[in-house]
């Protein structure tokens, strides 16, 4: 029976190829989009699917009272704590640091930068890593060995056997002892090169593993089976509080009595609840909801088209009923046909998704390793089948209700009023979803654009950021800065801890004011060229300036406007000449500048000090003029001649900023794409409804024309029908989109003044799509000659 129904269904599709193409393609597009969205979420949440017992694999996180207004969790831990964490072996079987930096590897003349992780040998056990080639234990046991991922091995050595090969890191040779499987780009444990924590390639090890104030790497721990997580966390908290860090932490800098609060996040929760997860949970939920929504919108089209087709098949249904087909049998037949369509659409949708995915990855900047795993195909087919059953229920019900005698007499029954209203309601739902999504996507796009074009407090054009090799000493960096400053096209070159707004590195300090108050404040080491290079003007006092100050002037400080308030001065002018103690050194405030955009627009500006330091001015900024490509090429050439073992790390300020806002831009693009598809689907749904409505109302249109209705009257008649759906869709969708937009923008301290523009733009777009969708059938209606009334 099922085979027979499938055969009939197949024949139905074959007999009407236009209808079949429209129905299958429409549903396939929905399936493809839903599948891609599901894949994005799945790949984010299952990046560590190859690691067993991830629920016991913990990331350590801490938060300080610090200089920021609200304590934030961070996964950057002082590396000296690793030795303390080892003492908690009752609860944790393995502990490893995970110190990651981009390191350049040279083979012959080829220099490439790789994400290099310095780890303890325990990590191999924690992640159940198995070498594809070579010996991982050996790779992590010797300081002159490294392991590389399969992709790294291929990019370094091509088809040559990598194990045993030598690579140059910072002038020293290292032996490749093992090749490991690639980790997904979105894995927490992602590396391209793996080296031991004792590796001599780790140039910063001495400092990083001794200084408690230096937060530079992560610590992962594996909880013993059956061990009490809360007790283990409490022990780590105690060890952190009592760690031999030298200086005692004053009470006012403690958080709830702790030096820093400690927590452990299980690996499956890191993306959702961990530090830097930044609303990921809502994002993944939103994307999952979006996948379901798109599928529902596509299914609605199927319901509409299939219902119209069912009404066309009244005679066939009448004959089947006459010959004894029970209502249940009719339902089974229609559901089988619906499932056939859904299966074909799912297959085509998966194919479309597979074809489009590489382009989407490029557009969205996503590198999800686990997507299009064959494991995803059976659930996709199951969802497709379920969609087929659910979407086929209404047309099957309509088929059941068709009266036999009337159908056999050739007097086709029109759909019931309730049925028509149901389908109108579904089309309204499509438009409200499309309008809401479009409007929300526009809000996010505008905010992402605003964030990347926000005035950072200085002229950000033509700023080239150079990140010198990490092993350079202060004098070497200064030497390189000086060499860069003499390049043609470079107006000035200054050094600082980090580029404003990038958020890679920050530094905090506790200072003692002249009245004895102690304040935690962010401290940005800069050289005397930095503020001038950025073109910053003082609002009181003067800047640190190379014409007056030297690198030895560590006693002078410039503060920002937020610091004026935070330090308790009545005005910027009042702060000038004030002194405070930073450790043993007395410093004097010589100038005040406006707040620079060091934080994202989600956060308030931190109070900041800018002072010359003997170290940590590890970022060089060049103010350039003339042909940007030539200046960048000259800087890269200088880099290569100076540091032949290092890949140049030179990029424009705007490129770095785009990277910072990548997630917002990605979200906006995903939403914009989904909104576009939703609008298309809704337009398509309206097209189908318009076709049906005009056919259904043909008699009415002709009779109205007969009694004198002109083109305007017919246009008004159809406009009320179709425009009404868009208007009701707008009334439902836009307020929700407005609320969602307001909620999204409320995350930002500094956000674009968006107003109702996104709502109007979405309405205009939906209205245009509706007009296009109904144009053909409206013209058909206008062209109907009244003499048709005589042919009924």
């Amino acid at each position: 029976m099922l085979i027979k129904d499938l055969r009939i269904g197949w024949r139905q599709l074959w007999q009407d190829p236009a209808y079949s193409a429209v129905v299958i393609l429409g549903l396939a597009i929905g399936v493809a989009v839903a599948f891609i969205l599901a894949c994005i979420v799945e790949s984010e949440l299952t990046a560590e699917h190859d690691i067993p017992n991830t629920e016991r694999l913990m990331q350590m996180e801490i938060r300080y009272r610090g200089e920021s207004s609200t304590p934030r969790w961070q996964a950057s831990i002082p590396m000296p704590f690793k030795a303390e964490a080892d003492k908690a072996s009752t609860y944790f079987s393995d502990v490893s640091i995970f110190y990651v930096r981009n390191y350049s590897l040279r083979v012959g003349n080829k220099v490439q930068s790789y994400r290099t992780a310095f780890v303890d040998p325990a990590l191999a056990n924690m992640l159940s890593m198995r070498a594809l080639k070579g010996d991982l234990t050996e790779a992590l046991a010797r300081p002159d060995n490294i392991a590389v991922s399969a992709a790294t091995a291929e990019s370094l050595f091509g088809k040559t056997e990598p194990v045993g090969q030598s690579v140059i890191i910072k002038g020293q040779p290292y032996r490749v002892a093992a090749v490991l499987p690639n980790r997904a780009d979105n894995s927490t444990y992602r590396f391209e090169v793996l080296a031991s924590s004792t590796s001599s390639a780790w140039d910063n090890r001495e400092f990083a593993t001794r200084h408690w104030g230096h937060h530079s790497g992560r610590i992962f721990l594996r909880l013993r089976p059956g061990a009490d997580l809360a007790a283990g966390t409490a022990l780590l908290q105690k060890l952190f509080d009592e760690a031999p860090r030298g200086d005692a932490v004053p009470e006012q800098f403690r958080l709830n009595g702790h030096v820093a609060e400690v927590r452990l996040i299980a690996t499956p929760d890191i993306k959702l609840k961990g530090a830097y997860s930044n609303g990921n949970q809502a994002l993944y939920l939103g994307l999952s909801g979006l996948a379901v929504l798109i599928l529902v919108l596509a299914a609605i089209n199927y319901v509409n088209l299939s219902t119209v087709r069912t009404l066309k098949r009244q005679r066939e249904i009448g004959i089947r009923k006459t010959l004894g087909a029970s209502p249940a049998r009719i339902v089974v037949q229609f559901l089988t046909e619906s499932m056939l369509v859904a299966l074909l659409a799912t297959g085509l949708g998966l194919l479309l998704a597979w074809l489009v995915w590489p382009l989407l990855q490029e557009w969205l900047g996503i590198r999800a390793g686990n997507s299009f795993d064959l494991v995803m195909v059976p659930p996709a087919l199951a969802v497709g089948l379920l969609t087929g059953v659910l979407a086929g229920l209404y047309p099957a019900w309509v088929a059941c209700k068709i009266p036999v005698a009337q159908a056999l007499a050739g007097r086709d029954r029109q759909e019931s009023g309730a049925g028509l209203w149901l389908r109108r309601g579904l089309t309204v739902l499509q438009f409200s979803a499309a309008l809401g999504l479009s409007s929300f996507a526009i809000v996010i796009l505008l905010q992402a654009r605003y964030a990347t074009h926000i005035n950072p407090g200085f002229d950000s054009s033509n700023l080239l950021i150079v990140d010198p090799p990490s092993h350079l000493k202060n004098a070497e960096i200064e030497q390189f800065r000086s060499a860069l400053s003499h390049l043609p096209g470079v107006k000035s070159a200054g050094r600082s801890l980090d580029m404003p707004g990038r958020g890679d590195t920050s530094n905090g300090t506790e200072i003692t004011l002249s009245d004895g108050r102690q304040v935690a404040i962010r401290n940005e080491p800069i050289d005397p060229y930095m503020l001038r290079t950025y073109g910053i003007q003082p609002i009181a006092g003067r800047l640190l300036d190379a014409s007056r100050d030297t690198l030895a002037n560590t006693g002078y400080t410039v503060i920002n406007r937020s610091a004026v308030t935070a330090l308790g001065y009545t005005s910027p002018q009042a702060a000038i000449g004030q002194t405070f103690k930073d450790g043993d050194e007395t410093k004097q405030i010589i100038g005040v500048i406006d707040d620079l955009r060091y934080q994202s627009p989600r956060e308030r500006s931190d109070p900041m000090l800018f002072g010359i330091s003997e170290q940590w001015m590890i970022t060089i900024t060049l103010r350039t003029e003339g042909d940007p490509a030539k200046v960048k090429a000259a800087a890269e050439a200088l880099w290569r001649s100076t540091y032949p073992d290092e890949k140049p790390r030179i990029d424009w300020y705007s490129t770095h900023l785009d990277h910072v806002y990548r997630q917002d831009t990605q979200l906006a693009r995903i939403l914009a794409g989904a909104a576009g598809i939703a609008t298309l689907i809704a337009g398509f749904g309206l097209y189908a409804l318009a076709a049906y409505s005009v056919r259904r109302r043909a008699r009415e249109i002709v009779i109205r024309k007969l009694y004198g209705a002109g083109r305007g009257a017919i246009l008004a008649l159809l406009g009320r029908e179709f425009g009404g759906l868009v208007v009701v869709g707008a009334l439902l969708g836009l307020p929700l989109a407005w609320l969602a937009g307001e909620r999204y923008l409320s995350q930002f301290i500094d956000h674009a003044s968006i107003g109702v523009m996104p709502l109007l733009a979405a309405l205009l777009a939906a209205g245009s799509v509706a007009m296009l969708a109904t144009l053909r059938h409206t013209l058909t209606a206008l062209a109907m000659p009244p003499s048709h009334a005589l042919q009924s």
Binding site: R704, Y707, G708, A713, P785, Q791
Partner: protein
């Protein structure tokens, strides 16, 4: 009232040319009751369409109340038709989604009748045709005879000077058919020009004049005595 001179109507498809009307000459005076008969495909409905300003002739002159309307576009014909012509069809052509009263009112929607007068006219028309008690019903809830009464009410509500009926009894049993014919006679008796296409010789015989068509030409034009 109506004057047709050498009216031709040609239907063309890609390779076939059909002469639906082939040189029809006809004069119809106000108040006449004309029945048009003939076998299927003889051009009855085409002639009715042209007379009702629903279609334009391919050739010839059609004088409607003193104006030659041959060659007029749809928009001009539309304007001229408003309120002047009523139509009755074999299949009633009522709108299922509208109530009886709304169906009747539809004929006034595009004319010059002020809104306040419309309701009064609709009520009068429904009362005259005996369907007032069905005003809020849908056409599908009525019998065939009642549906045709509603269609006649709609045709009359604009008080047209010309009433065109295309097989008005074709979908009715004989009792309802006779009743409709009686109504049409009464309407004509009140002064409305009535042109009716019918297959029924009995019904045609009730008209004051009978036109018999064959292959698009007037075969017989007989006035009852």
């Amino acid at each position: 009232m109506l004057k047709l001179r050498n009216i031709r109507k040609v239907h063309r498809t890609s390779d076939i040319e059909t002469h639906a009307l082939d040189g029809v000459d006809l004069d119809i005076e106000a108040g006449e009751y004309l029945a048009i008969t003939g076998p299927s495909g003889c051009g009855k409905s085409t002639l009715l369409g042209i007379l009702g300003l629903l279609d334009s002739p391919s050739e010839g002159e059609y004088w409607f109340e003193g104006q030659n309307v041959a060659g007029w576009n749809e928009s001009r014909l539309n304007q001229l038709r408003r309120g002047r012509i009523g139509f009755i069809f074999q299949s009633f052509n009522l709108i299922d989604e509208l109530t009886v009263a709304e169906n009747v009112a539809l004929a006034l929607e595009y004319g010059d009748v002020p809104a306040r007068e419309r309701k009064q006219r609709v009520d009068e028309a429904m009362a005259k045709l005996g369907v007032s008690h069905r005003a809020s019903h849908r056409p599908s809830q009525l019998s065939g005879g009642q549906q045709q009464r509603v269609a006649i009410a709609r045709a009359l509500v604009s008080r047209p000077s010309l009433l065109l009926a295309d097989e008005p009894t074709g979908n009715l049993d004989s009792a309802h058919g006779d009743e409709v014919m009686r109504l049409l006679r009464d309407i004509n008796a009140e002064g409305t020009t009535l042109i009716m296409v019918t297959h029924s010789p009995t019904h045609a015989a009730q008209a004051s004049r009978t036109l018999r068509l064959l292959d698009g030409r007037v075969l017989v034009d007989a006035v009852a005595v």
